[in-house]
C-alpha cells in the first residue's frame, strides 16, 4: 500500500476518530513521524476538550480499539462518547479514564495536581498531605519571585507538616 502523503510505501496504519467515524490513515515512516508530531503539538489550540485528544504517539489500530472499549462503570459513559462531547458523565469517569485524562488535563491546564481549596469535610490526614502540596507550590513561586523571607517561612511550615505526617504514619 502507498503512503497517503507521499509516493513511499506505507508502513504505519493509524485509525483516527473524526466526528465519531473511524478514518484510516496509511503513512510511511517519515510522514507518520510528522503526523504524530503535529498531533501532539497542535493539540493545545482546539476549543473543545474532547477535540484535544488526538491519537497518542505510536498508537495503532489495536490500542485505539482498546481505548474504544473503555466504559465508566458508574455512569456507563464510553470513552468514545467522552471524546466526541468533551464532557465526562460523572465524578467516577475521572477515575475510569484517569490514564487518558491526565495528558489531556496537562494539555489544558499545564498541570495535573489541584492545589487550591480543599473541602473541610475531607479526612484530616489527606487535608495535611494536601496542604503540603500547596505549600510546596507556594514555595516554588516565592523562590521564583525572589521573596526569600516568604520562602523561609514556607520552608519551616513544610518541615513542620512533614514532621507531623511522618509521626502519624509511624503510629
Amino acid at each position: 500500500m502507498k503512503c497517503h502523503r507521499c509516493p513511499k510505501v506505507a508502513t504505519l496504519h493509524i485509525t483516527e476518530i473524526v466526528k465519531g467515524e473511524p478514518e484510516e490513515l496509511h503513512l510511511c515512516e517519515d510522514c507518520a513521524q510528522q503526523y504524530l508530531a503535529q498531533a501532539t503539538t497542535g493539540a493545545g489550540t482546539e476549543e473543545s476538550a474532547g477535540g484535544l485528544i488526538k491519537s497518542p504517539s505510536g498508537m495503532g489500530d489495536l490500542d485505539l480499539a482498546e481505548l474504544e472499549k473503555l466504559v465508566c462503570p458508574t455512569c456507563k459513559l464510553t470513552f468514545r462518547e467522552f471524546r466526541n462531547s468533551g464532557r465526562v458523565g460523572c465524578a467516577h469517569c475521572y477515575s475510569a479514564f484517569r490514564d487518558e485524562l491526565l495528558p489531556l488535563l496537562e494539555n489544558i491546564h499545564g498541570e495535573t495536581h489541584h492545589c487550591g481549596k480543599f473541602p473541610k469535610r475531607a479526612p484530616d490526614d489527606s487535608q495535611k498531605r494536601f496542604q503540603l502540596i500547596k505549600l510546596r507550590n507556594d514555595l516554588r513561586l516565592a523562590v521564583a519571585e525572589e521573596s526569600y523571607e516568604e520562602a523561609a517561612r514556607l520552608r519551616d511550615q513544610i518541615q513542620d507538616l512533614e514532621h507531623h505526617l511522618s509521626q502519624e504514619t509511624a503510629e
Binding site: 476538550a49 458508574t74 455512569c75 456507563k76 459513559l77 462531547s85 468533551g86 464532557r87 465526562v88 458523565g89 460523572c90 465524578a91 475521572y94 477515575s95 485524562l101 489531556l104 488535563l105 489544558i108 491546564h109 499545564g110 498541570e111 495535573t112 495536581h113 489541584h114 492545589c115 487550591g116 481549596k117 480543599f118 473541602p119 473541610k120 469535610r121 475531607a122 489527606s126 498531605r129 494536601f130 500547596k134 507550590n137 507556594d138 513561586l141
Partner: protein, 359 residues
Amino acid sequence: MPVVDLNELIGTRGEWMQGKGPESDIVMSSRIRLARNLVQFPFLTRCDETVRGEIERTLRKQVVDLTLGGQLTYFDVEQLEGVDRQFLVERQLISRELAESHGSRGVCFTEGESVSLMLNEEDHLRIQVLRSGFDLDGCWNEINRIDDLLEERLAFAFDEQLGFLTACPTNVGTGIRVSVLMHLPALVLTKEIQKVFQALQKISLAVRGLYGEGSQAMGDFYQISNQITLGKSEDQLLKNLRDVVPSIIGYERKVRGALVEDNRQALHDKISRAYGTLKSAQSISSEETMHLLSSVRMGVNLGLIDDLPIPTVNELFMHTQPAHLQKLRRSNLDSADRNVARAAYLRQRLAIAQPGDQN
C-alpha cells in the same frame, strides 16, 4: 421566602451597577464563579428528567435559606417565559446556557443581585458573586464564605489529586472562573487593543466581548478571565488578574489622555454627536445604542459630558436590551417595534438629565 414578581426587578438596579468601587470608570464589574457538583448524582448530561428534578430539589432546599445578606429570590427557570429568561440573562443573574437548556433548573439570587446560584447549569451548582468596580478580593471573600456554608450542608464531588470534579475537564480543580469586565473605548478607537489581546493570551487569560453574540465586543466592553483552573490556587489565579488589570487600566487612561491632548476637538465632537443621537433618534438598534452609549460613557468619565451620572449610563446599557425593553413596555415587541421603543425610552431618560429639554 416571598414570591417576587419578576416585573418588579425592572425598577431596581443591581448593586454591581452602581458605578462604585475601585477604578469603576474603566472596570465595570468584577465577577467570580465556582462550579460544584453533588457527589451522589451523575453530571447532568447523564441524568434523565427524574434525576434532574431530584438534584434541583436537593439543592433548592439547601440554598433558599442560606444567610447571604438580604432576601433571596428563587425562580424555576424551566417555568419562565422566554422573555423572562432573557431578562435574567441581561441582568447577568443567569448564563445564556442556563436560559437556553431544557429540563429542571433554577436560579436563586440576593436582593442586591450580587450573589446568584444557578442550579443545573453545566454543573449541578454554579455560584456567582458580582461586584461593582475592580474588587476581586471582595468577590473572593464572599464566594468563599458561601462555598463554606454550602459545604456544611452538601457533599461536593472532590478528588484528592484533581480537586473539585466538573462536567467539563476545562473547569476541574478549583472550578473557579475569575473575570473582570472592562470598558476600553480608547484602546479600541486607537486599535491598541490588539496588543492587549496578544499579551493576555501569553499569560493564559481569555478575552471575550460582553454584549456581542460573536467574538466582536459591542460597546467596547471586554471580559478578561482565567483560562486554567487546575494546578494553581485560587489566590494565584486571582493574583494573575490583580496584577495585569491595573496595567490595562493604566494603558486605557494613558491613551484617553493622549486623545484629549492631541484631538480634543475631534473627540469632543464624536462624543457630543453620540449623545445627541441618543437624545433625539426615533428608531435605534441595540448595536448602535451600545456603540453610542460607549462613547457617552467615556465622555462622562473625561468630563466632556457633565449632566449625566455614570450609574444612569450603566443602567441604560441594560435597559435598552430586548427583554428589558419589553418588560418596561409590558408587551412583546418585534425587532422594528423595539427599535422605536428603545429610541423613545432613551429620549425620555436623557431628557430627565436635561431639565430644559421638552420630552
